[in-house]
């Protein structure tokens, strides 16, 4: 029931935390765990903290980069405790559960949790449609990573095990673009904006970040992506004439 949602851990330092995350997931009927460049894994400490959820550890997918881990996902959500200078659209765990369990079930979703000490970097948040923030004490806001996963998975479980389906008003039946398709769109966009002289690739990081945020927020479908890429190609062709 929740197999379309994967939990992605980025560069987790302590293998015990990976085990505790697996346990928290299995408690809430979640099965898909992805590890991006874990410091130490597999590891007996992870297995011991998993306390019987070793099946989740055994089937965990391991990736070198976050990009590849979320490549097949249409909806990417990044957990964060910190405030950011550029404000991302923010959702709570309950809103996250609404958003990910009431949409078409064939949409793949990634929920990303960053490093224990430093969370997610800005370039990693660039991959995200939403920033997930757990309501908590503002004076002491850093939850243990397994505790954060527990709260989020608990809300997902509650949302799928109540009989009243809530619609968030998305009637769009078109297939959403995957993270991989968005990545190659952004590469194409940066290239085209450089070609037409709008951007200097070295100095325009903040413009690209703003544009990514804009297009991530809107969750492009594949037809829209085709149109936008057609426009980019045409302006590049014009430039070359």
């Amino acid at each position: 029931m929740l197999s379309h949602i994967k939990i992605v851990l980025v560069e987790t330092s302590h293998p015990g935390n990976i085990g505790a995350v697996a346990r928290a997931m299995k408690n809430m009927s979640m099965t898909e765990l992805c590890l991006v460049a874990p410091k130490i894994f597999p590891c007996s400490e992870a297995t011991s903290r998993a306390a019987g959820a070793d099946d989740i550890l055994a089937r965990a997918q391991i990736y070198d980069t976050l990009q590849t881990a979320v490549a097949d996902c249409q909806l990417v959500i990044g957990a964060s405790a910190r405030s950011r200078t550029i404000s991302w659209p923010e959702i709570s765990p309950r809103q996250c559960a609404e958003l990910t369990t009431t949409k078409e079930s064939d949409q793949k979703v990634a929920i990303i949790f960053g490093r224990e000490n430093s969370g997610l970097k800005n370039h990693e948040l660039d991959l995200c449609h939403f920033l997930l923030r757990i309501p908590c004490n503002t004076e002491y806001s850093s939850l243990n990573i397994a505790a954060a996963v527990q709260v989020v998975c608990y809300e997902l479980f509650v949302a799928t095990h109540t009989q009243i389906p809530v619609s968030i008003g998305d009637v769009d039946k078109n297939i959403k673009a995957t993270a991989q398709q968005m990545e190659s769109f952004y590469t194409h966009l940066a290239e085209a904006l450089t070609d037409i002289g709008f951007m200097n690739p070295d100095k325009s990081k903040s413009i690209m970040r703003r544009l990514k945020r804009l297009y991530n927020r809107t969750q492009l479908d594949t037809k829209e992506l085709d149109i936008l890429r057609g426009i980019l190609r045409m302006s590049q062709d014009n430039q070359k004439k």
Copy 2:
């Protein structure tokens, strides 16, 4: 705000769990921890897992028996994962939060968590008005004690901080574009797409409709609009060269 509710741990075996409970509580602005006959406490492992919540450990009250720990409470709630032969009135964490945060604030409340391996005994449940059950996978229902405390305290925090959930995409402080600004953006867009040869103005109504739908959905702010119009101007300029 939540100081009338105490978390009571009964005969906890692992001091690390006591520390993790303190952290989970402090994350959710809970301050009152009671320990009934803890196996090992105080302990450096508890302090280390508390990760900065050592003030909660320092003020923790220690008791020999559960009776004395809950003696001053009007409402006593016992957490349990197991089914009981004698059925207690059962509540979920969300119901528990409603029950304990909407009643008169001078009512003292205890929420009790049992031993890591065996939970609460029946004679301990006899002290409880309600049994608290966290919704979870029935095949794998035993949450780590700190994870269980985290979920319960999270619901308590959410119930008392209801102004926190913000509607999706509404946290952006930038000024949204007006309908008039969007209209002149669309006019400019149609003009630029015609200039670069992407669109024939007579035949491309459906493409413009799709693009409008895309940009309307995303609710552009005025800075984003400036960037997009800058891009349009630049591709038009290139065309005219």
